[in-house]
């Protein structure tokens, strides 16, 4: 049967038709070989638009479809499904982008129309060579992996577990809880962070469907959507998890003191320590870098004291594999280290704190027992809170960290509440962004508590006569100000984890320009990634507050469950094949394949592709000296046809070579 091609040119309202003469492009397409129908329409992706295609396939014998509209990354699947509904193999479809790549980026309407015609000609030339391809179905492993045990990871794990599916929750710290476990109160309701997060942490530990792996990291991910094999590295705790009762006796006599990470350096912990007072699990861990016994010195105090004999200095790391169908990444954020911003004096002046340190100071189980005190044990009479430290700053992070305004307001309230109403509180802000539910109301409440707001990013914090002075410009009044205070709190930016690039590599996903993990679509796909079966939850994708992180995590859990509930997934047939009649058996492809999907069949003397392992990258096809290796849907004939369609459709105007005497011959018409 000869190819009967239908071409459909979209207007996208005025998005395309505002620049590109869509009816003109459709008319041009009619002249291309094999085209029997060519139409233009306001919105091809709408129901009437899709019906137009279906109707032509059913009643006009169209057996190849070309749509010229937005990016195929947006609507290729939409139109492939429409073709399938009409009974046409969805791979007999080609989409070309005349919106993102033409109408939105070209100044001159004539040139835009010409470029659109080139692209349509290329798509028509290519679609001639499309072949019948059929997706294969694969089973989806029902288990889900959640990486990161902060509030987002906890929420995702609980949601998945509640459905009856098994969850592996991997956390690299000795306890789950994440940053939320460090907080004291939460804005705007001022309920205590521990009161709302510890029940969830305990629920994780008690849920029979959740396999909790703390002090562990994912080191390798193999496989594809529905069938991932994940290697987990479990670091040695040096405490037998089965024997330990969590009594805490061992913590008391340890002679080694180490700066506490959980307390943000405000106080110390022992070499054997419980990550936080509400650790889940409550089993301590020995820090091998500081423990006397593990560094070869004489001690063994904890081993002598432990009533259940749980201390095991000989414990070693374990690596094991997990089989899962999908993965939720909830690896969280780091806070910016303000020490390099020397103008604010962090690390130099003892009374300059980061927001997380201030958070610990407010916490009832923190270093000061929840009292706001300076290093000399006295409460401050005045506090300056510097917003946007490292956020909205071209030298650090251009983005807004989204939470600082609100927690700064929370600090305002807590200082007034704990230290006394007479305490002066100064906020140095750029804009107050109180966008969430109940946030604006909270701002109003704090404003009424006699807090001072100065609009302007401080230039520096200096020390004069033993007191800190914040130097800034009040940009509303247009005057320079020097505010003497006892204490300074820096609202440091949320930033991607220091090892986010390494994590992205392990899981095969990308980072955005800001370093956070890149979502599939900024608006309509904020949870999924470009890699099928890998989802994002919480602040690993962008700065978020707690309600947004929890909502995002539930979204990721729903995505993972959708895969698990369906039980099967369609795998694209666009993988590689090697034609045994052409293959010379040189084995170049065997070494090139990054997935070890090509094996050499010694009996026949040819290379063979294992289609279940092939991802369709085409490394073999790009190299094969004999042309035996081909990627389905991206084979040589198809690419050559597209190329020639692109270059031959319209004659280029004869262009004189600058400086040349003679006219070069016109390009091929």
């Amino acid at each position: 049967m000869p190819n009967r091609i239908g071409v459909y040119v979209c207007h996208c309202g005025t998005n395309i038709a505002g620049k590109v003469d869509s009816p003109g492009v459709a008319e041009f397409a009619r002249s291309l070989p094999g085209v029997v129908v060519s139409r233009d329409y306001k919105f091809m992706c709408s129901d009437p638009g899709q019906d137009m295609i279906i109707e032509d396939i059913r009643n006009h014998g169209v057996n190849r479809v070309v749509v010229a509209s937005c990016s195929p990354r947006l609507h290729e699947k939409t139109f492939q499904k429409a073709c399938a509904r009409a009974g046409l193999n969805p791979f007999h479809f080609q989409m070309t982008c005349i919106r993102e790549h033409v109408s939105w980026v070209t100044r001159d309407p004539q040139e835009a129309t010409r470029k659109a015609k080139h692209l349509v000609a290329a798509a028509v030339a290519r679609v001639h060579w499309h072949e019948d391809l059929y997706s294969r179905k694969e089973r989806v492993h029902p288990d889900v992996l959640v990486v990161g045990g902060g509030i987002a990871g906890i929420q995702a794990a609980l949601d998945v577990a509640r459905s009856g599916h098994r969850v592996h929750l991997v956390e690299r710290a000795p306890s789950i809880g994440g940053h939320m476990a460090q907080f004291d109160k939460t804005f705007p309701t001022l309920d205590c962070a521990a009161c709302i997060s510890t029940p969830k942490m305990v629920a994780v530990a008690q849920d029979p469907n959740i396999h909790l792996l703390t002090w562990s990291e994912v080191t390798k991910v193999e496989g594809f959507v529905g069938n991932y094999t994940v290697t987990v590295h479990k670091k040695p705790r040096y405490v037998d998890e089965d024997r330990c009762t969590g009594c805490g006796l061992c913590l008391e006599k340890c002679p080694t003191k180490v700066v506490s990470e959980f307390e943000e350096g405000l106080t110390s912990r022992r070499a054997i320590y419980r990550y936080s007072p509400q650790s889940v699990p409550s089993i301590p861990v020995i820090d091998p870098e500081h423990c006397r016994t593990l560094t070869g010195k004489k001690c063994g105090a904890c081993q002598k004291l432990c009533p259940s004999g749980a201390i095991d200095y000989g414990q070693t790391a374990q690596d094991f594999e997990l089989e899962v169908g999908s993965i939720i990444l909830a690896t969280g954020f780091d806070t910016l280290d303000p020490a390099p911003m020397t103008q604010y004096g962090y690390g130099r002046y003892p009374e300059v704190y980061t927001s997380l340190q201030f958070e610990r100071m407010n916490n009832a189980v923190g270093p000061t027992g929840g009292r706001i005190l300076m290093k000399d044990g006295q409460p401050p009479r005045s506090v300056a809170i510097l917003h946007c430290v490292g956020s909205r700053d071209v030298n650090h992070h251009e983005y807004c960290s989204r939470v600082c305004c609100m927690y700064a307001l929370k600090y305002d309230h807590l200082i007034k509440d704990k230290v006394g109403h007479a305490t002066r509180v100064y906020n140095f802000y750029i804009d107050l962004r109180c966008f969430g539910k109940g946030y604006e109301e909270f701002l109003r409440r704090v404003q009424e508590e006699d807090v001072t707001f100065i609009r302007g990013r401080p230039a520096e914090v200096v020390q004069e006569d033993g007191r800190l002075v914040v130097v800034a410009e009040d940009t509303l009044a247009g005057i320079p100000v020097r505010v003497p205070v006892d204490m300074v709190v820096l609202c440091t930016a949320m930033q991607p984890r220091a090892d986010a690039a390494e994590t992205a590599r392990v899981f095969g996903i990308s980072q955005g320009q800001d370093g956070f993990f890149l979502e599939e679509h900024p608006k309509l796909g904020p949870v999924s990634t470009a890699t099928d079966g890998i989802f994002l939850a919480g602040t690993c994708q962008a700065p978020r507050d707690i309600p947004d992180a929890v909502a995002h995590a539930s979204g990721a859990a729903a995505q993972a469950l959708a895969l698990a509930a369906r039980g099967t997934v369609e795998i694209s047939p666009t993988v590689s094949t090697i034609d045994p009649d052409i293959c010379t058996g040189c084995r170049a492809c065997v070494g090139l394949c990054a997935y070890s999907a090509i094996e050499f069949d010694a009996r026949r003397g040819v290379a063979v592709v294992n289609q279940a392992m092939c991802k369709g990258c085409g490394s073999c096809a790009g190299h094969c000296p004999s042309g035996a290796a081909r990627v389905r849907h991206f084979n040589g004939r198809q690419v050559f046809a597209e190329l020639e369609g692109l270059l031959e459709a319209l004659p280029q105007p004869p262009t004189p070579r600058p400086g040349a005497d003679t006219e070069p011959p016109a390009a091929k018409a």
């Binding site: 947006l74 890149l518 470009a530 990258c617 991206f634 270059l647 105007p653």
Partner: protein, 140 residues
């Protein structure tokens, strides 16, 4: 004498540079119209034959653009492209085609501005270079 307008074909990978081109479009970053994209799944599947054919069929330059080193969606396809392009550039010179007519770049999915800038700079460079030497040969 009207200005020479080159025709440039770009083989770009679906995961990074094609996505960056989409982002450049969504962000309305105006670009010269001369560069036309051919979407590949990975730069590692760009057979040198495609590039040669493009240069012999009227393209004044070819751009191959993929994910940054280490970011390849298929582990290391971009490294394979880098080797092939390097070798091909050496060969092109021997056939009298300026090496600058074949360019390899890495443009990540979030770098729409990089894409628009690369396209603009390439067009400028090829405009200065003039029409492809191979065009005359191919049409003889």
């Amino acid at each position: 004498m009207s200005q020479f307008e080159p025709t440039i074909v770009a083989f770009v990978c679906n995961w990074c540079t094609y996505t960056a081109a989409d982002l450049a479009g969504t962000s309305r970053m105006l670009q010269p119209y001369n560069v036309k994209l051919i979407r590949m799944m990975c730069t590692g599947m760009v057979d040198p034959k495609y590039i040669i054919r493009a240069l012999l069929s009227g393209a004044d330059a070819v751009l191959v653009s993929g994910c940054h080193p280490g970011d390849c969606h298929y582990i290391n396809g971009n490294y394979k492209a880098r080797r092939r392009v390097k070798l091909l550039q050496e060969m092109l010179a021997q056939f009298g085609i300026d090496q600058r007519r074949l360019k390899l770049t890495w443009i990540g999915a979030s770098e729409g501005n990089d894409f628009a800038r690369t396209v603009a700079e390439l067009v400028e460079e090829i405009r200065a270079l003039g029409p492809n030497e191979a065009r005359a040969v191919a049409t003889l």
